[in-house]
């Protein structure tokens, strides 16, 4: 299902297109550095708005990443047919490649946010890393699903349809960042795992049944 040659191609394209790595990441870094100075004129953000702003940055960053390079359906179909590549292989390989590109960037974003706003982690590193990994997987699969299987593939439609879904995924991370106790954290992680499995099952069902 996951083909190395597709992952290699997607990662090569990411570096050569200079989109996320060289445009979005520095933009977000500047935002994070400037935000506390602009909002409160100091490198310290009050705890009550810390979480909302961090979630907001996460959603903005994920949205920018999602709309950075929309797929052209006609070009994609031609490319896949020319290479006799199955859509299901392409979908999961591209998902793997995007997770590989996006996950380290989100972690970097969170570290920068935490560092520049002088806010420490309220939950364990493993819980936060897992929650962010689930967030990455879900947002990337939803985004690719919209681009590959629907005609909602232009930036505006992507933005209006996908952002509410991302907000839902991001809100699920909030309790884990707030630092709820271990048992509740585990329940939230299990919920996130369940949602990831539902999204995976739905896309898999659609991929197998689509012509």
């Amino acid at each position: 299902m996951i083909k190395k040659f597709i992952i290699k191609k997607e990662i090569n394209m990411e570096f050569r297109n200079n989109t996320s790595l060289f445009l979005i990441t520095p933009t977000m870094c500047v935002l994070i550095i400037l935000f506390p100075i602009l909002s409160e004129n100091r490198f310290r953000v009050d705890n009550d708005i810390f979480l909302i702003v961090e979630l907001l940055f996460l959603i903005i960053f994920t949205t920018l990443f999602s709309i950075r390079n929309p797929l052209d359906e006609q070009k994609l179909v031609k490319e896949l047919n020319f290479g006799t590549i199955k859509k299901v292989d392409y979908f999961y390989s591209k998902t793997a490649a995007e997770v590989g590109i996006f996950y380290p960037q989100i972690i970097l974003l969170l570290i920068l946010f935490s560092g520049f706003t002088n806010t420490s982690l309220n939950s364990s590193l493993i819980h936060i890393s897992l929650a962010v990994l689930f967030f990455c997987l879900n947002t990337i699969m939803i985004n690719l699903f919209f681009q590959v299987f629907t005609t909602f593939s232009n930036r505006f439609v992507q933005f209006t349809l996908i952002v509410p879904i991302y907000i839902g995924f991001a809100i699920l991370i909030a309790p884990l960042w707030l630092g709820v106790n271990q048992d509740i954290s585990n329940i939230y992680l299990m919920m996130y795992l369940g949602i990831t499995l539902v999204v995976y099952s739905f896309t898999n069902f659609y991929l197998r049944s689509a012509k």
């Binding site: 047919n81 020319f82 590549i85």
Partner: protein
């Protein structure tokens, strides 16, 4: 005979606008076909539909397809512009790092070896078409569809393309061509689909 594509009353279009109307088309493996028609008659649309690259309205045409490998060399290139020729070859051949003797031989045959590390976006239209023909030669699919075969190619490129058609005929592979008029590139043509009618 193994089926490639079959449709009774094939109608194709974009939105509600019909480009091809009520055509009966049945294509079988190991036979060659030609599609001819003037500009706007639907040649490209039909060849894209046959090669499963058509994105538009099929108006419930009841299309049946065989389980064959089909490659289309169309009016717009299928290669990835931001990758080099050799990277494209590796990608389309499903390999990670392959430069074997067969690939080198074919790149030399199509006079592309010296350009193998250049990006496709830096190629001329003729070079892109040559590259696609070289990849089709390496992949050797059951069915090769070529839209406007001689467009962008120089004299030597046309000769190489016609040699490929001859090789495919001798191997019993199907070639489908579309052009404004017959270019006599195939020795045995089972049916000429005239879209001017």
């Amino acid at each position: 005979m193994s089926l490639i594509f079959k449709s009774k009353n094939l109608s194709l279009g974009y939105g509600n606008q019909l480009v091809i109307k009520n055509k009966d088309i049945s294509l079988e493996l190991s036979k060659n076909y030609e599609i001819i028609g003037k500009n706007g008659s639907g040649k490209t649309t039909l060849i894209m539909c046959i090669s499963n690259n058509f994105i538009g309205n099929t108006f419930k045409s009841g299309i049946e397809r065989g389980n064959n490998s089909i490659i289309e060399i169309g009016s717009t290139p299928s290669l990835v512009p931001k990758m080099s020729l050799i990277e494209n070859i590796n990608y389309f051949l499903h390999n990670e790092n392959l430069v074997d003797e067969n690939v080198i031989e074919i790149l030399n045959k199509y006079e592309l070896y010296n350009f193998k590390d250049d990006l496709i976006e830096e190629f001329s239209s003729g070079m892109v078409k040559r590259s696609e023909i070289a990849i089709a030669d390496i992949k050797n699919p059951d069915v090769l569809c070529v839209d406007e075969p001689v467009v962008y190619l120089d004299e030597n490129g046309v000769k190489l393309l016609f040699d490929l058609f001859s090789k495919r005929e001798s191997l019993g592979k199907t070639t489908i061509l579309s052009s404004q008029e017959s270019i006599n590139a195939l020795d045995n043509v089972e049916r000429t689909i005239n879209l001017n009618d």
